[in-house]
Symmetry: D2
Subunit: 284 residues, 4 copies
Amino acid sequence: MKHAIFLIQTDDRQGLLAATTSFFSERNINIIECRQYTDLHEGRYFMRIAIDLSTESTRHELESQFAALAEKLRLQYTIHYSDEVQNIAVMVTKTSHCLYDLLMHAEENTLGNGRIVMIVGNHPDLEAVADRFRVPFYCYPVVKGREMEQEAELHPLFEKHHIDLIVLARYMRILSDDFIRRYPQRIINIHHGFLPAFQGSDPYRQAWERGVKIIGATAHYATAELDEGPIIEQDVVRISHEDTPEKLREIGRDIERRVLTRAVAAHLEHRIILSNRRTIVFGR
Amino acid sequence: MKHAIFLIQTDDRQGLLAATTSFFSERNINIIECRQYTDLHEGRYFMRIAIDLSTESTRHELESQFAALAEKLRLQYTIHYSDEVQNIAVMVTKTSHCLYDLLMHAEENTLGNGRIVMIVGNHPDLEAVADRFRVPFYCYPVVKGREMEQEAELHPLFEKHHIDLIVLARYMRILSDDFIRRYPQRIINIHHGFLPAFQGSDPYRQAWERGVKIIGATAHYATAELDEGPIIEQDVVRISHEDTPEKLREIGRDIERRVLTRAVAAHLEHRIILSNRRTIVFGR
Amino acid sequence: MKHAIFLIQTDDRQGLLAATTSFFSERNINIIECRQYTDLHEGRYFMRIAIDLSTESTRHELESQFAALAEKLRLQYTIHYSDEVQNIAVMVTKTSHCLYDLLMHAEENTLGNGRIVMIVGNHPDLEAVADRFRVPFYCYPVVKGREMEQEAELHPLFEKHHIDLIVLARYMRILSDDFIRRYPQRIINIHHGFLPAFQGSDPYRQAWERGVKIIGATAHYATAELDEGPIIEQDVVRISHEDTPEKLREIGRDIERRVLTRAVAAHLEHRIILSNRRTIVFGR
Amino acid sequence: MKHAIFLIQTDDRQGLLAATTSFFSERNINIIECRQYTDLHEGRYFMRIAIDLSTESTRHELESQFAALAEKLRLQYTIHYSDEVQNIAVMVTKTSHCLYDLLMHAEENTLGNGRIVMIVGNHPDLEAVADRFRVPFYCYPVVKGREMEQEAELHPLFEKHHIDLIVLARYMRILSDDFIRRYPQRIINIHHGFLPAFQGSDPYRQAWERGVKIIGATAHYATAELDEGPIIEQDVVRISHEDTPEKLREIGRDIERRVLTRAVAAHLEHRIILSNRRTIVFGR
């Protein structure tokens, strides 16, 4: 069953839900799922509507009719179709656990309609993993002092392959502001710490030194402010005084890959709306 | 801000959401929160709508107008008002942890508009706790072979005090089918096991003997089938081989009280709809 | 069954476990529980031994003999007896949930051999709670600019009543360095955030603004550095975008009281050894 | 650093810890880790000792000397060496998530010294996965009415390849009692339910029908009693009324693979001692 998903936000007012749902009801379009959220602090209204597309009207008709409604109601919105493939580029360095998890879930078709079309490494180490899953591997090493050259090569590559989402799967380089600004809400990063605690490098050692009893990982949209982007998903695990920093790193890997994969799935299923620095993540 | 809550269920059809929300929108009534759920397996539609009551129309008008809509759409529904106090009777035996938790939360006003108006014990042990919180304590001991006499005395007591909800806070007697049938979806029980595992008595010993690594507790509506009523809330905690059955009991107390209090709060906040043996619990 | 608990730390060397356990074995003393931990990064050895005291030798004999062993092995240690009551002063301001939880657990005898002997408030609000449990309440308001006078009054009070442990149960004043240094490893504080994230004031609002998906609470020994003391216990709960800062505060209360009570129990059961800024917490 | 691990159990008596640790201390052997557990209900003592092997005495000497001690103290024990590779056969049917997880962790060297040397399927579906990781795949289809023939072929295969551990990674056939008895405490199975709830087939549907709020998975040693073997590891995840049985299956996959991998790691790291139907699992 094909469906379309509308992600909507606007200033909170009375009647928004009735007006929007009536739009579909009048066209005999079945609403499969509808979720709303009102941020009373900011006075903003957020909505995700999934509709059945097995209807007579074309997508073009539907889009232009909805555009009229949106203009009237001043809705800010995006439309997504369940049969629209989304191309993913996964960027990696040397550690494979997050990459494997994404590849495995892609193969099990639990990443929405996402398709991993390329793996980009700044080191050649994970080429073998890419080969196993028959995904093209591109190696763009970073030469000290010439970092921007590497980034400059990525843009045409991403463009040519119609990349919709860039996943930083433990990519250990900091990308330039300029790079990040080109892909707003289209780069997902995994931080191996429970943000906002332990920003910066080696969060597991920081966690050990501070003697915390629980460690975590955080997936977020990358923004120009390092480790400050809107958080999509987090998870944690209880640890004990016996766990060395090395052991924390090992334990952490299972959280990192879980959190990153869940965040990527939420994005690909169009369940996320951005509200300044916060994410509204509908549904599971 | 006063509000009314509509709990609705009906057969799933197109246009239900638009029709229902338009009803309020046409009357300039603000919808504060709206939640839906479609059970595709059963073809049923469930809905919780919270509306702002600071409107000119009286409750009576609203109710009769909504009744007309409900008849047209064949909605099964109940209406609840945020300023309607709900009277709670807590039934206990000898253990105090669940009772304390309920009293504490009632005092902190986190049990919706619930008010604990009486504590009923089949033993006198917890009278002192009731006294501390200045709640009347009724002691109705059970005499072997004359169990029904005790139950017979409870009905007029509950009726006189307009009891809306009976909470079995580790009440260690099995109530008769007849008793339970009188209060459909109005008796909440806490089972000190992770149902459906460990039904029956001494679940912590059962758990220890089976060597499980996680124990839990389950709050459910009491039905004629012991430990088989619709589950409202569950929670668990990780244990280790070192924990004796006695220790499990102690650990379990913290889960039991948490789970029971959360279930009672969900009921009092009108967030639960029953669908056969399953509960739809909206929101947190 | 009476028992004694030895908390030991020393530089890591070979044979420490054999030497220490042989000491008891040669005296026909039964070891009930023995836990060790070696911090390989710091080269330190930590040990908790619980022994059966139903033996012929007196405590005095045992202590002087063990002192000889400790000198030989250069052990740093403390000895605690299971029948030694520990006097607790709980310091509060206006919120009652942590206080209630401690009182309830004390009543259920799950706080080791701890006894809450006084409640000290800088506001009179919680006197009624203290009265209910028949615990003396002392009100020492803080006058702006004369904070030290309040603290000066507390010392003789604590001394007279042989206070062993001070629990800051959402006590909303910052105590002076001088005060804190007088009670090393004897003041436990609850921070309503998942430290080291959200230090300082109103951590729930900070958490909301940062858009985290999980919130937590942290119990730690108070040190001169605010919110930087050794962490004893932490716990977390998953939240959603729908939870307002107010709701987070409410949800947080259940974590705070759980975490604080667990930390206090661990301290009273002599399961904690300090290693610089980190705690070794043995057992559950 | 090479080390040896002793797993010991015996009747609880005084002096066991001192006697055992002194054995090593007298030989100037460094104890890296020592864990004990006394089951007071059964009067049994359990112990795991890891020692440093960088010593002058040979393994043969050490073993014969320890045998003498064990005879004197009536210890039941096994010895394991950190440099002894353990050969694993993974048995599968059609679902790949558990298999992938094991292969991935084997590659990351987080399965102790386990080595996956073969994958056995009763269907050919997962041969491609085996190929990717360059592990031999054996397909032994089960012919109705001739199930024993398949099993008969497995024994020589396992023997020839020195299989130490058989992992049933969602292997969807019930093995015969005779088969299971041949490999005591050497077959680990994953059950996709929170045992002892939901034994038997399709536990996710059972869970949905019962309306539980939390689902789980259980790894256990296979015994002749189906789903009744000693539990090694369990984990759970919170679900909601919105999750269909199909969705539960998808969610469950992440728990299953996590739980199975953790159980396999605990076995391979020699952290498990069996005590009747319960497992003592030391350390993380």
